[in-house]
Amino acid sequence: MLIRSRLLRLLCALVLAVLAMAVGWVLRPAGPVPARAVVEAVADPVAVDVTRLHKVAQGDLPMPAGAAAAHASSLLVMPPGGPSALTVFWFSGERESGPGVQIAASQWDRSMQAWSAPHIVANRHVLGAQLGHGVRRLGNPVAWMDADGRIHLFVVATGWGGWAASRILHLRQSSHSLNLDALEFAPVRVLPLSWLWNTSHLVRNAPLPLADGGMVLPVHFELGWKYPVALRFDAQGDFKGMVRMSARKHLLQPTLLAQSPDHWIGLLRDESANGKVGAVATDDGGQHWRDLPDLALDNPDASVGGMALGAGQLVLAHNSSPGSRARLDLSHSSDGVHWSLLATLASGAPMDEFSYPSMAWADNSLWISYTVDRQRLAWQRFAPGGSP
């Protein structure tokens, strides 16, 4: 096409640009409303005094037959009135990052007051066939239930390399029933999070539920530098965007705690020498984040897991020894800055490991699951109303 007038050519370029914008706008889904967190995990937070939580039960989770390794559990609260109060997901196999590792699940049966026999819900060969490309290793499942009552699983799936070559695979419940025996998942997609062959983002901790039925999923990048990222999802589990949470390069595995609908804090594992629990905060519902001073709590480069039971009622499970994961504590706080010990969940010899805690509030109790020596999973249940 030969157009001699420069002005006319400019006009043509502008028309094409507007056309591109218009097509993009027409094909684009509706944007999400500003994110406002659900602060109360507890139906009646006034009735729960976090300082009076006391242990009422504990035990080990049943492991799949022949599984020598288990790690990274994720607790999911099930709908009230159903047969199960909780579903727990974890990865299990011959060893961490082994080719035989699969995603296992178990459910807390309300009538039996016990965990069901484990059931495998995802394996890399099936997922690879469904995705159309290979999946080398699986790990770190994180579960969430959308507004339609479907379970979503976010799973670390490695490419060519170790954990640093990971991507986050989004799975959605494909079965009609929430019963464990029938529970099946199908891939939605590999989440597009970075330009570098879409490596190296990992997920570990539970999402922060939002008032619109959506959630914010905390993840992190870990190729060399490590930094946290918050991912937004709508009520149906559609990806809505990403925001970097810190300017520091040694923080990973954020856990999110809402202090008000707009003001949230993120507490993080710190891989630096003599690390403390790292902290970040947002005052505008996750649109912008700022770094906070480290907490006084030691962190031996280990995952922390926390939640807000209500405004000013924060709980955090964390390893508290500077150089090992031999002790796992449960602490509470009203402001997210100053923390007090509530209970020691587990402790052992220096080479013992109690790690990767996950927590949820269900059936008027705080439930905590964690890894023991990377071989099995343990759980504890705390009820309100004990002596402070």
């Binding site: 030969l2 370029a13 097509v23 490309h133 290979g134 490419g159 330009w195 937004r232 809505k240 970097r244």
Partner: protein, 221 residues
């Protein structure tokens, strides 16, 4: 969020459905492998017929499912290729097959500018991946307004210089890539993934360095 605000927001990306991504994996890597087959066949001095049989075989191989097909492993390691890389290979294959006259890029200033833009964009995206930029460049790639801005930038050589469109082959390619990205959201829904992948960026770096060396030699001689 109102409609105008949503245009300038990266908070409502349009992502491709899984079926479309799978199709792109096979089509994209198949095209790249076929192009590679032609290059290798030509370099090895194979007869044209044998070269095209090799390229066709590689293309067919890419459509097979499972771990015996290259897409299984290429997707595992690198996900899907960029639309730009696939279009460049496809156009080169068509030119070689049909012996049509090649597009030309007009004055060398613009070909150098395109090369520099690709190299710089890749460096910026790499630094952003490592969180070494103060802004989140990759997230902007989900913004609906960014493809429109890129259309304007792509047409800048044509607006400033004029001439027949076939003299602005890179502009045409960029517009085609943006069209695929806006309409089909391939390969990931992020416009940067459509424009440039790390392999293409590495190729541009090598080509840029070679161009600089050749220019230095010609100046010194």
């Amino acid at each position: 969020m109102n409609a105008v605000a949503s245009l300038f927001s990266a908070d409502n990306p349009s992502l491709p459905a899984l079926g479309l991504v799978q199709l792109w994996l096979h089509l994209g890597w198949g095209t790249l492998l076929a192009w590679l087959g032609v290059r290798v066949g030509t370099r090895l001095g194979l007869r044209p017929r044998a070269t095209w049989v090799l390229a066709s075989a590689l293309m067919v191989w890419a459509w097979l499912p499972g771990p015996y097909a290259p897409v299984h492993w290429l997707g595992l390691a690198f996900q899907g290729p960029s639309v730009m890389a696939v279009l460049l290979c496809a156009v080169d294959l068509v030119w070689r097959r049909t012996s049509l006259g090649r597009f030309r890029e007009g004055p060398s200033f613009w070909s150098g500018a395109w090369l520099a833009a690709g190299v710089l964009l890749g460096w910026a995206l790499l630094l952003d991946t490592l969180a070494l930029l103060p802004v989140s460049l990759y997230a902007w790639g989900f913004n609906a307004a960014v493809p429109a801005l890129l259309v304007l930038l792509a047409l800048l050589p044509w607006v400033l210089q004029g001439g027949p469109v076939r003299q602005h082959s890179t502009s045409v390619l960029v517009i085609a890539v943006l069209a695929v990205c806006v309409a089909l959201h391939l390969p990931t829904g992020n416009v940067w993934d459509a424009l440039l992948d790390p392999w293409l960026w590495l190729y541009l770096n090598v080509r840029g360095i070679r161009t600089i060396i050749v220019k230095q030699r010609s100046i010194s001689s």
